[in-house]
Symmetry: C2
Subunit: 351 residues, 2 copies
């Protein structure tokens, strides 16, 4: 079989990052041959250690190298020894913004057999996709401090939203919704308070909706949406929302779909002007690093999203199915250490 | 018994507002005589109807009258016939800002017998108080639109945070925490992204903490906090957070504590330079208005908070106990229409 060669950048990062990435790559290696894929990997030592050593988070030279890759797999970044926000903004958000990851794609799906904190809720009740805007909103870093440290200090943060940015993510969300059986799209915002940004989202939603008459749309304030996540998760199919609301509701989504150990995500540049980056939603969890306790499932599901992105849908489906089967087995037979989960899933997809 | 006279403004509002307020007042009337309280009530017809009639939401003249009152009881405002945000900003937020309600106090408490969507969670697992900032953050209305309606439109929203505003709400939260058995205070923010505002909150928390050595403090990002709300609600005692995060997590809190029909709140001006305003967290729910389906419990619990605020702690405890007993009875014997719930609770507190 002729192999298609894919340039893959790997950023294992901090804490449990390297452990879960190792399992993700194990599964990728197992599924690749029979899918006609060959990955040309380059690993980047970005994260806390490099910052301590050099003060660098994501140097321009590395960013330039990343641009030459086709896709990126990221583990997790962050460490208590580094001031909060340094790696998050200097590395993670810098990559999202520089590589124009305007869609932050986060499925919220409860696999059969997986425990959820919600009473009486089963796999068929939780199956949604959150399309989170990834390059604007309150994440721009715009803002500042006046009279710092005095009783008259003022600290501001600005949410910047553009027609350009909102339209492209809303359009993407309609595409996702149109391709799903229920064809339902919910805008989540807070337009009764954040009136300027909210009205822009509402107006764009209405405009783009004309091109997708088959998709039913509705709107929820973000506060109400969090209630429905726990009281009626079934009401959601596809959600489109801003960067900060998306951050919040996808963590809540992870919680109801069996925990952060299972939540995958893609930082997607649908225009393909730069590589997209796939990463588990969880952080670096330094408290459990190196103990074989981390669940690599979120990373493995992120690998499935990566495969989808490069057009290897069949391989993606096989990885998802293997994860689903493995989760059912773990529900029945008990949890396993990190590497054993990777082994089991790799075995299922190989050959 | 000599009566203390209290000037009470009542704003029934829209939808189910008038129905639930009627029950709140029924309970207030029932508990007052034996508590040595007499309320001098003035009702204000603010809301959708008045806006349709006159275009007014909260006219200056009414605001001036409200300032002369000691406390305010509000039902709910908002109607689909009024553009989203008009009454919310023109009436509710205007009152909160003008009357300097810098503490938005929202207990999240699961009463015994009440159903929660969380599996295996009982009343003792959910008992926290959210101290939400009420007069700044992303709620200032600061922001604007450039090139509206063009492909180059930019919409901004600014979160404004001051040392003055943050310190007073953080201090209040420490007071609340110090008075509770667990004496634990969690700051909820997003300081790895909203660095200017987040750092201000963190710094103020650390400073004020020195005055309350008995209170244990910690910090959670808002996204992680929503996960813990559903996976481990017990970890929370008192939370202090900004206006928008507080809005979101208290709706989620209401959901886990038995639903929005039970969630009470106080818009409090602790300096007492203007009247405080008590209101159920829920909205006007026009879809069920006038059918006797609304649960007045949130309003009745808001009346208990109002009683606490005016120094009638005994009366407040009696109302809370009556609500608790009534909820247990409803759990056992089934739900009742709006007025019957008010009747039953009024009966329990009277005499
Ligand atoms: C680490 C942090 C900056 C990041 C975010 O807020 O986007 C994370 O919470 C996420 O959801 O990927
Ligand atoms: C109606 C709305 C403006 C309000 C808010 O966002 O504060 C409501 O959601 C609340 O929580 O009281």
């Amino acid at each position: 079989m002729v192999s298609r060669s894919v340039r893959l950048a790997v950023i294992p990062g901090d804490g449990i990052g390297p452990e879960v990435v190792a399992e993700g790559l194990k599964v990728l290696d197992a599924v690749s041959p029979s899918s006609g894929l060959a990955f040309e990997r380059t690993s980047y030592d970005l994260g806390a250690a490099r910052w301590h050593r050099t003060g660098e988070t994501l140097p321009d030279s590395v960013l330039d190298e990343l641009r030459e890759q086709e896709v990126i797999l990221l583990g997790a970044v962050g460490d208590p020894s580094v001031p909060s926000g340094t790696l998050e903004r200097g590395l993670l958000l810098r990559a999202r913004f520089a590589l124009d990851h305007y869609v932050n794609l986060r499925p919220v799906k409860l696999f059969p057999g997986v425990a959820t904190p919600l009473a009486g809720v089963t796999a068929e009740d939780v199956d949604m996709v959150v399309v989170r805007e990834g390059t604007e909103g309150p994440y721009t870093g715009v803002g500042g401090v006046l009279r710092k440290g005095t009783p008259h200090e003022v600290a501001t943060q600005e949410s910047v939203n553009t027609a350009y940015g909102v339209e492209r993510v809303v359009r993407y969300a309609f595409e996702v919704a149109a391709a799903r059986p229920r064809q339902r799209l919910t805008l989540v915002h807070k337009d009764n308070v954040l009136t300027f940004a909210g009205e822009l989202y509402q107006r764009v939603l209405k405009q783009v909706a004309r091109e997708y008459p088959q998709v039913t749309t509705d709107y929820l304030h973000v506060d109400a949406a969090t209630m429905f996540f726990v009281s009626q998760p079934r009401r959601f199919d596809v959600i489109v929302t801003d960067n900060l609301f998306g951050d919040i509701i996808t963590d809540l989504g992870a919680a109801i779909a069996g925990g952060i150990g299972l939540a995958a995500s893609g930082n997607v540049n649908p225009a393909r002007t730069a590589p997209s980056m796939f990463e588990p939603v969880h952080g670096s969890a330094p408290d459990i690093a190196g103990q074989g306790k981390a669940d690599p499932t979120a990373t493995i599901l992120s690998v499935a999203m990566l495969l989808d992105h490069i057009g290897a849908g069949d391989a993606a489906r096989r990885v998802e199915q293997a994860v689903s089967d493995d989760l059912a087995e773990r529900a029945a037979l008990g949890e396993r250490p990190t590497a054993q989960i990777g082994d089991a899933i790799a075995k299922r997809v190989s050959g």
